[in-house]
Symmetry: none
Subunit: 94 residues, 4 copies
DNA sequence: GTGGTCTAGACCACG
DNA sequence: GTGGTCTAGACCACT
């Protein structure tokens, strides 16, 4: 499923919030909101912007890390991977 | 990770500035910018050239000293070690 | 040098603030302000109570950890060691 | 020989400048310009205030350290000793 | 001029 | 909320 880069989180949608956020971020990365090897928004900032809790935000990030689109540097930040659109994987399935 | 000898410091990068500087200096030493037992640039000069603060520059130097590529003579300067390319080690560890 | 458990930090003193704080905490631990295996004040709290910055507080804690009087549990807190008064050591050395 | 606390350095006096400065500082310490365990002026500042070179200033300080009136903390500063007027010693002779 | 030391503050991931 | 990390700048003695 695709997501609009400027979509908002819909609480009672069929997809859980963390999946919606992952979809939004995936689109924003592909759109080029952040260049490879550059930091995306901090977890705190994502919480504020999308009205989500920390665990939810972390779950979305974890999904994108698993897909190879992001990588986390401990105590420093979350960055866009060099090859931001790796081989297609189970993006919607989980 | 390798660094170009003429690279500039990128604030936003996943690697912190002190690590980038260490990488640049490591490359410049191997390239032969300074002969063994000859002083490299002063800490003050490195601050100016790379737009960094003293502590950041000192941290980079400390890493190269630990690797055996440089040695510091208190109140006199920082020098290239005789054997400037010792066995590879964990260059990212602090 | 000994420190009063209720002493304040003196900026101008020959001993740097981080050393003064280490001395104060050392005295408070020996006095029994906190029981073994119980947390001392958080770093943030110590900053407020003594008017110091985080790095200064952390440096004092690091000294006491090195002495075996405290131990740090990452992301959880700083605790008094079981045997809170180990053999005397070089308390001024860093 | 005693010196006025507000005296200036006289180049062609019988006493060399470093001795004159030592005398002035001795008087200022006894007068209480700086409390015990508090820093006096930095070497750089003394150079400026009295129009002397660094070696000259350092020689004056060394004399007062030898007398037990001052003590130097490496890389930190020069401080007034706790007992600022110890047993009389060879103050003018050298 | 050099390197040495210390304090400061902001940002982060993490539980 | 916690501790972890990093950069910044001022001041010092010293050669």
């Amino acid at each position: 499923m695709e997501y609009d880069a400027d979509a908002e989180i819909i609480r009672d949608a069929p997809e859980p919030p963390f999946q919606q956020l992952a979809g939004i971020l995936r689109t924003r990365i592909q759109r080029g909101d952040w260049a490879p090897r550059r930091p995306i928004l901090s977890e705190t900032r994502l919480c504020e912007d999308y009205g989500l809790s920390r665990p939810t935000v972390r779950r979305a990030i974890a999904a994108l890390v698993k897909e190879g689109r992001l990588f986390v540097v401990p105590q420093r930040g979350t960055y866009v991977a060099d090859r931001s659109a790796p081989a297609s994987e189970d993006e919607s399935a989980e």
